[in-house]
Symmetry: C2
Subunit: 240 residues, 2 copies
């Protein structure tokens, strides 16, 4: 496909002959760490224009510029799946974001539940993790990481027609069947302490909501997120 | 079920009235960290005799002893699934072991492939991670973590009748169907650099071996391990 090994996400438009100024971090990585020089190929994507082969036209301490040569892959969106989860410890939250991008979701929604320990997240840091994961896994689009919002607010504005799967620990031992049909969907993972009674009641009363069992053992929230997205992808997503 | 919250893995036999001396680490945790006193309940399992409610009979600096009162759950083995994988960076290797235990496998087999970076693993440290994950996830058995062995040696002694699924990056984009039938099985995850040509040839020529696709994106080895075990569990394991 291409002799270029390094993939970078950029914000700018991509098109034939388009010059793209790289960020200081990207410049440091390409020039300082990887020792690329003028003329070296890199791959660029911006989530809109597909993946481009570009050549370094400037590669100095003051900055690097790459000029787009040819598109090598079209834009491919992941399936219309959202992953909503209650943030947990830092490393495990980072992990959920990384895995969600690799497995293929379109939006990542941190939610505050009654039993969520984290009152805050660093949205910018999680978004940077999503970018890194997309660069690594060959995705041509970077899922958006939303700001933390209360679960209630998310559910109150739930879009009609979007199926919601939530991981119900009370369903442990029931078959891990994903159910539902292809189409817009979301997976909701609770905090380590589980959902509150009122939250479960709310979920059980909503239309288009299905509970999902993930086997007889108690999964950590990060494991449950990966397992649930995997099952959805194999049943209704782009792993079919 | 039980008022005891803390689950501990022990090596000793468990049975009614059986006194169990806890390790210095367990004693420190129970007495120093959790401030449990004589008479407090704990849960014990040893991978053979099920899960027991026990009461602390001694809880001092010199050590803690718990006396088994009643069995509260029988021994439940995870399905006869092995997870073989090429060790990667420390944190991600730890993660694979933790997730394998939660998802439910019976043996964990680190293997050395041509492109594996780690020449050594700390088997004792990984086994301790498996114990911790079992304590956490409610398992009554702790999967064995084997010593690192060359992939060739593992394949040369492959047990007849054990189905082997390997994650073939060349199959990317094909449907993520697990295939095969319930029964003894193993999942093999390659290193970040992929399998060598000779290794793939070897695998393709073996009877009872199936390649497994995990969607159109490139998954890290740890993600692939969790996704593959999840699909097998839902199709043939104890998540059915």
């Amino acid at each position: 496909m291409s002799d270029a090994k390094i993939r970078l996400y950029v914000d700018q438009p991509l098109g034939e002959g388009q010059a793209v100024r790289l960020s200081p971090d990207q410049t440091h990585y390409l020039v300082g760490v990887m020792r690329l020089a003028v003329g070296a190929p890199v791959l660029l994507f911006n989530g809109r224009d597909g993946e481009w082969r570009a050549l370094l036209a400037e590669a100095g301490k003051r900055g690097a510029v790459a000029v787009c040569e040819a598109v090598i892959r079209p834009l491919v969106l992941p399936p219309d799946l959202w992953l909503a989860f209650a943030p947990i410890k830092k490393a495990r939250t980072d992990f959920i974001v990384e895995k969600a991008v690799e497995l293929g979701v379109r939006r990542i929604l941190p939610v505050q539940t009654r039993h969520t320990n984290s009152e805050r997240i660093r949205q910018d840091r999680l978004q940077a993790h999503a970018v890194e994961a997309a660069e690594q896994c060959g995705a041509t689009m970077v899922p958006e990481v939303a700001e933390l919002q209360p679960l209630e607010r998310l559910l109150a504005a739930w879009p009609a027609g979007r199926q919601l799967y939530w991981c119900d620990e009370a369903a442990a031992g029931q078959p891990a069947m994903i159910g539902g049909t292809p189409g817009p969907a979301a997976i909701l993972i609770g905090p380590e302490g589980g959902f509150a009674e009122a939250e479960m009641k709310r979920l059980r009363g909503m239309a288009g909501v299905r509970s999902l069992s993930l086997g007889p053992r108690i999964l950590r929230a990060d494991t449950a997120a990966v397992a649930a997205v995997t099952l959805w992808q194999a049943a209704h997503g782009d792993w079919r």
